[in-house]
Amino acid sequence: MKKITVDATVDNLQQIIDFATEQLEERDCPMKVVMQMELVIEEIFVNISSYAYHPEIGPATFCVEFEENPPAVLMTFIDGGKPYNPLEKSDPDTTLDIDERDVGGLGIFLVKKNVDEISYRFDDGKNILNMKKFL
């Protein structure tokens, strides 16, 4: 397992993305999967940056590891901010017309759409979000 810990601020988004992309490309993951994982990582990391420690700044840890049989990538985000389960947020209604569409909730919705498994737990004062994507 490889991991990186940075202050959760949008300024550090690219650092996390670069770290993840490097791991995925080392495994020869298809470009499409790399792109989808970039999106997933951005949405979660930006959420942590915006809300977890607000108005303070605190650390977020991102871990990535790979499984064989079947091949999959496992990604975990850990932060020590306010307890928050992003999976409790209801999905936006994507069939509404423009005047009724709200700008909220899109990020976590995109995350759910792009991974195969996702689970949240609050453990030892930390938010832990596990995600799995089959390759």
Binding site: V10, D11, L13, Q14, K32, M35, E38, L39, E42, E43, V46, S49, P92, T94, T95, L96, D97, I98, D99, R101, V103, L106, G107, F109, L110, K113
Partner: protein, 98 residues
């Protein structure tokens, strides 16, 4: 991200180059606040837009809502990767994509 603007009368074309993510979306949002004054025909040229995240979608939604009041808006040259995100979120049905 880089933004290129071309104004012809009331028609504005905005070319967004690179990544429209949480780090860059505020810049586009700020740009649009003033750039859309008096514009009736807005085109986003996404030929060189490689990536869009929810922060970028929010900017597009705000622009679409504004343009519905003052004219029309369309997206052109949308890449496969960006189109996938527009499809997933139902945005493809809210916007004119040429």
């Amino acid at each position: 991200m880089e933004i290129q603007k071309e104004l012809n009368g009331n028609a504005l074309t905005i070319k967004v180059i690179g990544r429209l993510d949480a780090a860059s979306a505020p810049e586009l949002s700020k740009e649009l606040t003033s750039a859309l004054d008096g514009v009736t025909d807005l085109t986003f040229d996404f030929a060189e837009l490689k990536y869009i995240a929810s922060a970028g979608l929010r900017v597009l939604l705000v622009a679409q809502k504004r343009m519905n009041k003052q004219g029309s808006m369309k997206l052109v040259h949308v890449s496969e990767a960006v189109m996938e995100v527009l499809d997933m979120t139902g945005f493809a049905n809210l916007m004119t994509i040429a």
